[in-house]
Symmetry: C2
Subunit: 241 residues, 2 copies
């Protein structure tokens, strides 16, 4: 196996927020692999990158990522078709690497923050325990959202919590214990969040950033004015006490 696999965080959406390293490694890779999901369409990742790097002549692999977790703890091992899909993507990448081609796997934001790549990572290592994978960090959408709203996520001894907002258990306790709480992907649970923040008198401490750094970015300083059904998947609520 001679090709190199790199997992690249391409940042939140603004092509200028790609790092120099991301640009260099994408240029050096002959194959680009992009996840093709319902919400994170491959067209989005590619449309960001092609504004900063010439993609002419690159081979593009669009991998349809299963939405459910199929490996590790809590996995549904009985669903073989999902496991088959992961296997298929892993095999496709390994085939390219065996041909000596460098493969760049593109991921929005930063690879270590809720990127589905890490499901694939386990599968790749299962098939090739000696595979070396280079992970290139990127600007996370969380940091970009805070920057766009001109707020700090934490200072001095302050504590920060990051929660996928579809996991509302203990949200009240978390809001009590932490100085800053970042709620990811709030589009489906915004009404419940507004209700709880209202009860805790925290509406004035919340800001919502939708599609930070993208062309259609919106910053909502009053989250009660947002219509839940109009809110995008890439929306973050930051509660800063």
């Amino acid at each position: 196996m001679t090709g190199r696999l790199s997992v690249i965080g391409i940042g939140p959406g603004d092509p200028e927020l790609l790092t120099l390293k991301a640009v260099r490694v994408i240029k050096e890779s002959s194959v680009l692999c992009v996840p093709k999901g319902r919400e994170e369409g491959s067209s989005l990742a590619l449309s960001i990158v092609e504004k900063a790097v010439d993609l002419d002549g690159k081979e593009i692999i669009e991998a349809h990522f299963p939405m459910r977790k199929t490996m590790g703890q809590g996995a549904d091992h009985t669903d073989l078709s999902l496991d088959d899909k992961w296997n298929q993507i892993a095999e496709t990448i390994l085939t390219q690497l065996k041909k000596g081609k460098d493969v760049a796997f593109l991921t929005l934001g930063d690879p270590t923050i809720y990127s589905t790549f890490f499901y694939l990572y386990d599968k790749l290592l299962e098939l090739r325990p000696d595979l070396s994978i280079q992970i290139i960090p990127g600007v996370s959408s969380i940091n970009a959202s805070a920057a766009r709203a001109n707020i700090s996520l934490g200072l001095g001894n302050e504590r920060i919590a990051i929660l996928p907002a579809n996991y509302l258990d203990n949200l009240k306790t978390t809001l009590e214990m932490f100085d800053t709480v970042v709620l990811m992907k709030v589009n489906k649970v915004l009404d419940e969040i507004i209700k709880l923040l209202g009860e805790m008198d925290l509406i004035g401490s919340a800001v919502c950033v939708s599609r930070a750094g993208m062309e259609d970015e919106i910053i909502y300083r009053d989250i009660t004015k947002i219509k839940q059904e109009g809110l995008n998947y890439f929306s973050v609520v930051i509660v800063r006490k």
Copy 2:
């Protein structure tokens, strides 16, 4: 006032982790302002940036940042000398902007993650409520540390907590409630952390990354082998259950 003030996250230390935007705005700015603290020496920020951008002819302002918080909640308003220092830095920057010069304030990692810039931000807005400040996000040392250790910080519905480790209260509760706990600046409290993680049977789930992305980076897979006194200020422990 015609000059523009930009606050730029320069990433964790690897000059290639600067974003295209950071490079462009630094090139366009005639004045660079760098914090000069005990731990975050200005020489460090400048030495990273000068590997990616030609700094010849730039005016460099080294601002000695007070270590204690002097504004906002919990501030020590009786210590006038600290407040004077913040005022002095703010005035220095405003003077440059008034001359029409673009000023770039450089901060390691990402500006919204524990950057002392936000103390200055309040002071600047106090003096000039209409001042527009551009915050350019960067790769946070947290994301870079996780990438270097090849671990995800969160997947699916997992919850992430980020704690400055000198704030050990409730650490046990936080470790119980969250899937991933990131402990910042652990160099002074490592022994206490190892003791608690040992009691909770979490030693095997912890990894320590010191100076992620810098030339002298070290990754410790067994944190009990680390000598606390040898550990650097830029050290992060990630506990991933």
